[in-house]
Point group: C2
Chain length 336, copies 2
DNA sequence: GTGAAAGCGCTAACAG
DNA sequence: CTGTTAGCGCTTTCAC
């Protein structure tokens, strides 16, 4: 059996409340007594039982994080941010993977609440999320992170997608490209973030007198980029497209792989740009020109806000916007 | 305030013990009473407070996982395995990232124990781990996962590295390569796994009458593979090396990137193989021929074993070995 | 089959 | 400044 506060109290010859006071610094304790207690603690190797503590204080120092799949590099990066700043404030995180199943997400919320977590961060990839409705009723701090779909019912952290897409398009235009494809997915969905990205792209194309072509993929994954490769290639040739701007790095990487496998040279034959700046973007060759979404920071800011709410510090109701950045690399070069 | 067992008891007109019995199925309860309780639970939306439960049962249904960095894809994969099978047994995981700092690791063990976790999995990248010494004293189930260094004082799960390296080398030889470099790192360290991999390589080279060259990198990272690129290239040319077998995928990817940047064609000019089968191995072009270490399974088996120990099922003391697999891809082709 | 009561380890009034 | 006491919400004897 582990050593408890009682053991310490006995050893130090004081009451358990006194011990409690010194470990929590909650009330003044005489130097002399404090020392006795500290000695006893050290000698016994006492560590307070956090579970017992939580029960009475109602503070678990636990934050629940529900992710789609920790195997996704951008999610891992967000979790890193969450974990690291959580740590700074003495919070541990409980990690649950939903694999995109909404019922699982809901179940996890219940589970996490029963474990008395003090806040929940949901990293989702769903369109409409019933979990959010559920969370609104509960008084527990909550943040919703979604790289693909917006949600106006709850606070989130993200970049300004329209602006980022605009800036990227402008950068491509400045490189001399005129015929530029934008590959999107599901941008007609009401809450799709693609809507904004397409808008940013269109706006820049208009201002820059470029000829734009919005193209549709069948999903957001590498696989989806690969599988539309031939169509993109045909279209690009037909319309003299010199640059393909993909709405996500995954698509861009898939597309580049298709190009590699089919002897299309990047950027000599065609330039490719992405969006996200996944780790792989700077590892793959040629390195991918892309918009950097600061995943780590998004996670960090999200948990920071949760902790603020927990501590009753004042926070804005609104979404938080972080700056994006154009990562200029070799997959997209000047038109000659 | 959340609804408690008391509320349910009152609503159902029974004692709290009865409620406890029905939610735990711990003792027979008459059908009639059971129904009343169940109804009350449903009506009130009651969820047992797991913290209170843990306090009395001493079972937190929590398993602590300390990782070096969740941003590493192989670690994320292990954590996936851990999380997913943990879930099957109703365990949640608490994730902590040590970023390779031993003191942090030790601190986390303390922290996790004070949160009453029922087991700890440490995913480390250190040579010698003081944490292990510390864990041996404690009676809490513990598994040590380390892709780089062995530890004979505690249970682990891994592949048979010597055999895997042997098989890979044999595969390369069978492709017609004779002059094969093996790039290693820190293989002279007492507990380095590289020692075994080099042995497997040497054995196969001997049997296959190949000419082997063991080469040293300055680390395990992509960056390290890139930075020895020129040396490898010079050496390979001098000794007519046709294939480079890297002790980790990271090194192989770094090397391939160097080759790309310097116009060395893979596999036409030289073949490259790796070890690990990180996600990127099959995304990068050319796709990397490599040894598949089943990270997901390693995590899954690790937590399964922990849960067995928790439940007093009998387990072997020995390390657990999982099968590896040669992933034959385009970075390594037949010599012509 | 059911209820009363003790207690898990700790914090937080409340006295003194 | 320090000790006593009452819970936190739940499980688990122990009676009946």
């Amino acid at each position: 059996m582990a050593v408890t506060i009682k053991d310490v109290a006995k050893k130090a010859g004081v009451s358990i409340s006194t011990v409690s006071r010194v470990i929590n610094n909650s009330k003044p304790v005489s130097l002399e007594v404090r020392k006795k207690v500290l000695d006893a603690i050290k000698e016994l190797g006492y560590k307070p039982n956090e579970v017992a503590r939580s029960l009475v204080t109602r503070r678990s120092r636990l934050i629940g994080v529900i992710v789609t799949d920790i195997g996704n590099s951008y999610i891992a990066e967000m979790v890193r941010g969450i974990e690291e700043v959580g740590r700074m404030y003495n919070y541990d995180i409980i990690l649950s993977s939903s694999y995109g199943n909404k019922d699982t997400e809901k179940k996890f919320v219940q589970l996490l609440m029963s474990k008395q977590v003090e806040g929940i961060i949901l990293i989702s990839e769903e369109k409409d999320n019933e979990v959010i409705e559920e969370m609104i009723g509960k008084k527990i701090p909550f943040i919703y992170l979604n790289r693909y779909y917006l949600n106006d019912k709850t606070t989130s952290v993200s970049i300004d997608n329209e602006l980022a897409s605009f800036d990227m398009t402008k950068y491509i235009l400045d490189l001399g490209h005129r015929n530029i494809m934008y590959i999107t997915y599901d941008e007609n969905e009401e809450y799709s973030i693609e809507k904004y990205k397409v808008a940013g792209y269109n706006k820049a194309m208009e201002e820059g007198n470029g000829e734009g072509f919005v193209f549709h993929a069948n999903g957001y994954r590498i696989q989806d980029g690969y599988s539309i490769g031939q169509k993109v290639l045909n279209f690009a040739r037909e319309k003299s497209v010199t640059c393909v701007f993909c709405c996500h790095d995954e698509l861009a990487i898939g597309l580049m792989s298709f190009f590699y496998d089919n002897n299309v040279k990047i950027p000599e034959d065609i330039s490719v740009c992405g969006f996200g700046d996944l780790k792989i973007a700077s590892i793959y060759r040629p390195r991918l020109t892309t918009v950097r979404e600061p995943y780590y920071d998004i996670g960090a800011v999200a948990i920071r806000r949760i902790i603020k709410v927990i501590n009753n510090e004042k926070v804005d109701k609104e979404n938080i916007y972080l700056p994006a950045q154009i990562m200029k690399r070799e997959s997209c070069e000047k038109v000659r």
